[in-house]
Chain length 284, copies 2
């Protein structure tokens, strides 16, 4: 039984098409800005789905209120599915005095939810801050299905070494080669990006990453790939946290830009709904 | 040592005048809307103060992030002072399927804070949802000091029986009589409000309540008091959660409207800062 929060309204129709049972919920706000939540129906297990894109703090609070309402209603086992997990990049103390923000959110959710499912969280190690079972769903199936036919005998590239694993899984699912870009400082002010140990000349390339915001890296990578003679250039990213104008700039620089629907955007053409409705949570 | 959150910036100058030691904190937001928090300095005990007026969900999240940062920095004892506590009125299930929202917020704060101080929370019983020590600070000292000279030998009235205790404490501190309004249904569509067992004729009246939003009750009460021959009519309320235009409408209907500075508004003329800086928290 699914409960759809404000951050997953855009997934509801597709979830229904996949046969997901959906519990009705009333979500509104009082004139002073406080959220009002009411869940209809009853049961013993529920899966609450809501992606925490902007306004992320409101969606996080809403998840707590829905959790409280379900517990009050007698639900015994609660799962949270949070395709885009806010604060995922605030995963360590860079300067003294900073919080590990993702930990605070994980702990708060742990007050109400027994299990947590996220899609391609920035640092999967942060799932250990959640007190219960926590699962990172790979976007590879979704990205692969979307780009397989377009890529053909191409190459999958990660924009940096840290993003290699995701690109590797996609490449292996498609059955093509993969590599990553590396940065070389060529002058005190200039850094060069180059794909490592792979010849892109005459080939289609798919660049795969977890988050895109300004798109600067993708635009730079695309210009380098063109100089190296690449044929068609595709960008397939999990979370489209786009800065203003970024969709247009990246779309102009590459042959196709597509992100998953963890966040609704005009280029959220890759659906992670099949991965969510087929979740087989542990019983008991 | 105080840490001042975004919901208490308006109290900072006065707190400094009272000699409060204040720990520097950096509060900003990333372009995607996520909050960034950084606390400077170190110690073992800190009191974080932030009122959770609109945008309340952001301020609640900020309190969790500040708490996480302080714990990470080695602070052992943390107190939260939340003069206006958001979701305080969502204190019970009215319709099946609703959460007890105030409980969810109390529990989340309990993840990081050992003690909680609030000012005149709507239902003091809800403090039991906070896992640690929780204290409801009375607004009576502040309201009394502000209105004592203006009221003279007047009467303190509560707008309904439920608000009587607050009015009684104010009246006893000033040393005047007190009562409350009662509602009588005089026709299927009309309800009459009357002060109970008290003669307001020729006397100044101070109406005391915890929250004012539209101000409808206060305007109605004032018109009745005028008909009954009251002299000057004052309204002294703890939390000014004003709907648009309410300050002007109420100000026109009464001789003076004043609320405390738990929420900054143009009529937040009553300060609760003395009650906060003098808190003597339990040690250890």
């Amino acid at each position: 039984m699914f409960v759809i929060g404000s951050g997953a309204k855009h997934l509801e129709d597709e979830m229904r098409q996949f046969g997901a049972e959906i519990l009705e919920v009333e979500l509104r706000r009082f004139p002073d800005g406080e959220k009002y939540v009411r869940v209809m129906g009853s049961g013993s297990e529920a899966t609450v789905i809501s992606s925490t894109f902007y306004p992320q703090d409101e969606r996080i609070l809403e998840l707590l209120l829905i959790g409280d309402a379900l517990r009050e209603r007698g639900f015994e086992k609660l799962r949270a599915v949070i395709p885009y997990f806010a604060y995922g990049r605030q995963d360590r103390v860079v300067k003294e005095g900073e919080p590990i923000s993702v930990r605070a959110v994980m702990r708060a959710l742990g007050l109400y939810y027994d299990e947590l499912y996220v899609v391609d969280i920035h640092n999967p190690k942060t799932l250990s801050y959640f007190p219960g079972k926590a699962v990172n769903i790979s976007p590879a199936r979704a990205i692969t299905e979307y780009f397989r036919g377009k890529l053909g005998e191409g190459i999958v590239l990660a924009p940096d070494r840290g993003a290699l694993r995701r690109a590797k899984v996609v490449a292996e699912l498609i059955g093509v080669e993969y590599s990553h870009f590396e940065k070389h400082r060529i002058s005190p002010t200039d850094v060069e990006m180059r794909p490592v140990e792979v010849d892109v000349s005459g080939k289609n390339v798919l660049i795969v990453d977890d988050i895109i915001s300004t798109g600067g890296t993708m635009i730079k990578a695309s210009s380098i790939l063109k100089k190296l003679g690449a044929r068609r250039i595709f960008v397939g990213v999990t979370h489209g946290v786009f800065a203003e104008g970024a969709i247009e700039r990246v779309s102009k620089a590459v042959d196709e830009l597509a992100v998953t629907n963890t966040i609704p955007t005009p280029v959220s053409k890759i659906s992670i709904v099949p991965d969510i409705v087929s979740l087989k949570p542990n019983r008991g």
